[in-house]
């Protein structure tokens, strides 16, 4: 039951993150949305692991830890790119001005 509830939450988070990633223009907002999206995927994975019974399946847990760290590394690179883009152009959006 718990697993299903969190699985559905993960599904909803994926939708929310995806929306933010597509609609938002500011690069930092997009990075936030990407992290929400990723976190929804991880939560869904956690729900899958929890379905294995009490204690959960450790293999997905290990994969989630790997995924979280990878997402952090990518976010850090993204933030650095935004910072330098903002310094060069005064803007924090990768898209051309007319969208």
């Amino acid at each position: 039951m718990t697993a299903t509830l969190y699985g559905l939450t993960g599904a909803a988070l994926v939708g929310i993150g995806l929306y933010g990633l597509i609609v938002r223009r500011h690069a930092l907002r997009r990075l936030l949305a990407f992290n929400l999206l990723g976190s929804g995927v991880f939560l869904l994975f956690g729900a899958v692991a929890e379905r294995a019974g009490p204690g959960g399946d450790p293999v997905p847990h290990a994969m989630i830890i790997t995924g979280i760290v990878v997402a952090l590394a990518a976010t850090a690179l993204g933030v650095a790119l935004v910072l330098h883009l903002a310094r060069e152009t005064g803007r924090a959006e990768p898209d051309p001005p007319e969208g």
Partner: protein, 310 residues
Amino acid sequence: MTALWLLDLCLVAVILAVALSAVAARDLFAATVFFVAYGLLIALAWVRLDAVDVALAEAAIGAGLTGVLLLGVTARVHMEARTPGPGRGMRLAIGAGCAAVSVALAAAVLSLPVPAPSLVPAVEAAIPATGLGNPVTAVLLAFRGYDTLLETLVLLLALLGVWSLAPDRLWGGRPGLRHRARPEGTLAWLGRLLPPIGLLVGVYVFWIGSDQPGGAFQAGTILAAVWLLAIMAGLSDAPPVRSLALRLVLVAGPVVFLGIGTAGLFVAGAFLGYPPAAAKTLIVTVEAALTLSIAATLALLVAGAPERAP
């Protein structure tokens, strides 16, 4: 227990509300704070999902690093997007599409088979050969050690990527700005008090990791966070990126992992294999080196590209 259901419903409701606000908030700063809050709530969710190892990692990353990374940068970039986003109609259409993705995923979750297939029996059968008590550590360092090896290289590459943004003339210099704080002030006081405690907690989390939730990633993250605090309090400075000592620390984890993995080719019959008698010692050795490298890499990832001349 129905009370747990109540708690789960509350937690899920707050998580979704915070996630929606992080996307919908007008203000960039508000969105960032919502996201920091979100990381905290997700750590609670991991405890409810019986994934304490993940909860530890999420707590350390969400509270220690993501907050520092994102809140630090909001002050340094323009807050508003200048290009208009998609129009109202378009946004509605995109929203409907994303909602459809969520609904389809929800249907997929509900249609997963019962009983759930899992690798729990396989892990239980194989874990004695590692000498470890924590199955997650066994998966990370033994059964799927190759993933972990690649992951540490992902961190290293990300750091090279961040450094690649430095102007040529500043190459070799120190990352980020030199932080200052009044020596007798509150921040300096915190910066002197917390790092020793953090060091203790980090070593503790690393040490219990072989048998209980914890391990190299969680410990490395905690150590990175307290180092960043010392830097922000002006008590420590990021080393120059040309420093050989720094570079050796950064690659120590991957080098030890690769070395022991290659030795496995000869003593255990396979790359990344461990002879069962020495498995635990070797795994703890790899983890110790990884903790050190992960701590340094994560802290420098947050510190950013070299900004001061060598």
